[in-house]
Amino acid sequence: MSTCVCGSGLAFALCCEPILNGKPAPTAEALMRSRYAAYALGKLDHVERTATPEALEGFNRQDSERVVDESKWLGLEILRTVDGGEGDQTGQVEFVFRYSLRGQTYAQHELSTFCRKDGAWLYSSSEINPKSPPVRVTKEGRNDPCACGSGKKHKKCCGA
């Protein structure tokens, strides 16, 4: 019997598998673990099914398919939970997971917020610390267009 990819040490069949198959997660942490497992196993329907409508607005399925396809999942560690228990309506889970992408290993540190809707836990939002692959930021030098709060295709520029 295989242990669950979420790192709980439990058998998959006793941990994330039933939740991935549609059984409601009893706690926010259990939902969080199952969502990690869903990424690791490419079960993105579960990720979509367990998000609030607002969170879903910001979820691009193609991008997630890319993430699943390109990443190797190296493990999850839960750092802290706030509420999110059987008697709670909201909860937070702080965790770190590691993965590798195009030959580089990354650790992502995340604080996720969950809420209950019609009894079931849903993922609502996250704060992520910048250990994830960085957004490509290119700074501009002094000779570039403008600093007047605008800049570009316009006629005269404060710096020019």
Binding site: L56, E57, G58, F59, N60, R61, Q62, D63, R66, D69, E70, R102, S125, S126, E127, I128, N129, P130, S132, P134, V135, R136, V137, T138, K139, E140, G141, R142, N143, D144, P145, C146, A147, C148, G149, S150, G151, K152, K153, H154, K155, K156, C157, G159, A160
Partner: protein, 254 residues
């Protein structure tokens, strides 16, 4: 009575470098322009501050000061490069459906209507006719023919909530962005930075990243090649290369 005159002489000089675009123009031209999201902090003292809070967003910096931030989908073309749509005889090759930004020239709706005077003065090397022979286009801080200005402003206003939501998520997920904003706000000369355009699409359920990547990836790759051997354009080169890498998975899908 304060009046300013202007006539376009088709010199093509303003068809170089960056073009801030509406979201729709950016997406429609993904197969033509290398795109970026350009973030520009605007300080509270600036005349564009109030307008920028409406068209963009407001951010609390590391030093607890507030700035307005303009987030502009941009044709991220090096200032020394002509627009890819500019033809050899200096005319616009897509005159019929050129971006709204180009239609509103020389006005700039990212600033208030009454704050246009200094941007109507041609930059060095531009051949705009501002002589008595040219028609009056701006009088007593009012635009005479305002149709294009209003249309661009409307588009900017309509897209603002979507860009604001994008900025909010990005700032939550990338603490480094607040550092960049703080730094950019302190820099009096060139306070802005570019973020991958695909970062916007990735945070929206409704965008087809595969279709976008198929159009945009070849453009980014071409610009990466064109900037490879020029040391002054190293930042641009890195931007194009890394943005292309972000899109390559999508570009290879069928």
């Amino acid at each position: 009575m304060a009046e300013q005159r202007f006539n376009c002489t088709l010199c093509g000089q303003c068809c170089r470098g960056w073009i801030p675009l509406t979201l729709d123009d950016a997406l429609a031209n993904a197969g033509r322009f290398p795109l970026a999201m350009v973030w520009t902090p605007v300080r509270p003292g600036s005349r564009a501050f109030d307008l920028t809070t409406r068209l963009g967003t407001t951010v609390q910096l590391r030093n607890h000061k507030q700035v307005a931030v303009l987030i502009a989908p941009t044709a991220y073309i090096p200032p020394s490069f002509p627009c890819p749509a500019l033809t050899a005889d200096n005319l616009c090759g897509i005159q019929g459906d050129k971006p709204q930004r180009c239609r509103t020239m020389p006005f700039y709706p990212y600033r208030e209507e009454n704050d246009q005077a200094d941007i109507l003065v041609p930059r060095k090397g531009w051949a705009c006719d501002t002589s008595a022979a040219a028609p009056v286009i701006y009088r007593d801080k009012t635009i005479i023919d305002r149709e294009a200005f209003d249309r661009e402003r409307e588009a900017l206003t309509a897209q603002a909530p979507s860009l604001r939501a994008y900025a909010e998520t990005m700032l939550k997920q990338n603490a480094a962005l607040t550092d960049y904003l703080t730094k950019a706000a302190q820099n009096p000369v060139a306070g802005h930075f570019a973020v991958n355009f695909s970062s916007y699409l990735r945070l929206n359920r409704s965008y087809d990243l595969i279709a976008f990547a198929k159009a945009q990836h070849p453009v980014l790759t071409a610009f990466a090649n064109r900037t490879e051997k020029t040391p002054e354009l190293a930042d641009y080169h890195t931007y194009y290369k890394e943005s292309a890498a972000e899109l390559s998975w999508f570009a290879q899908r069928s």
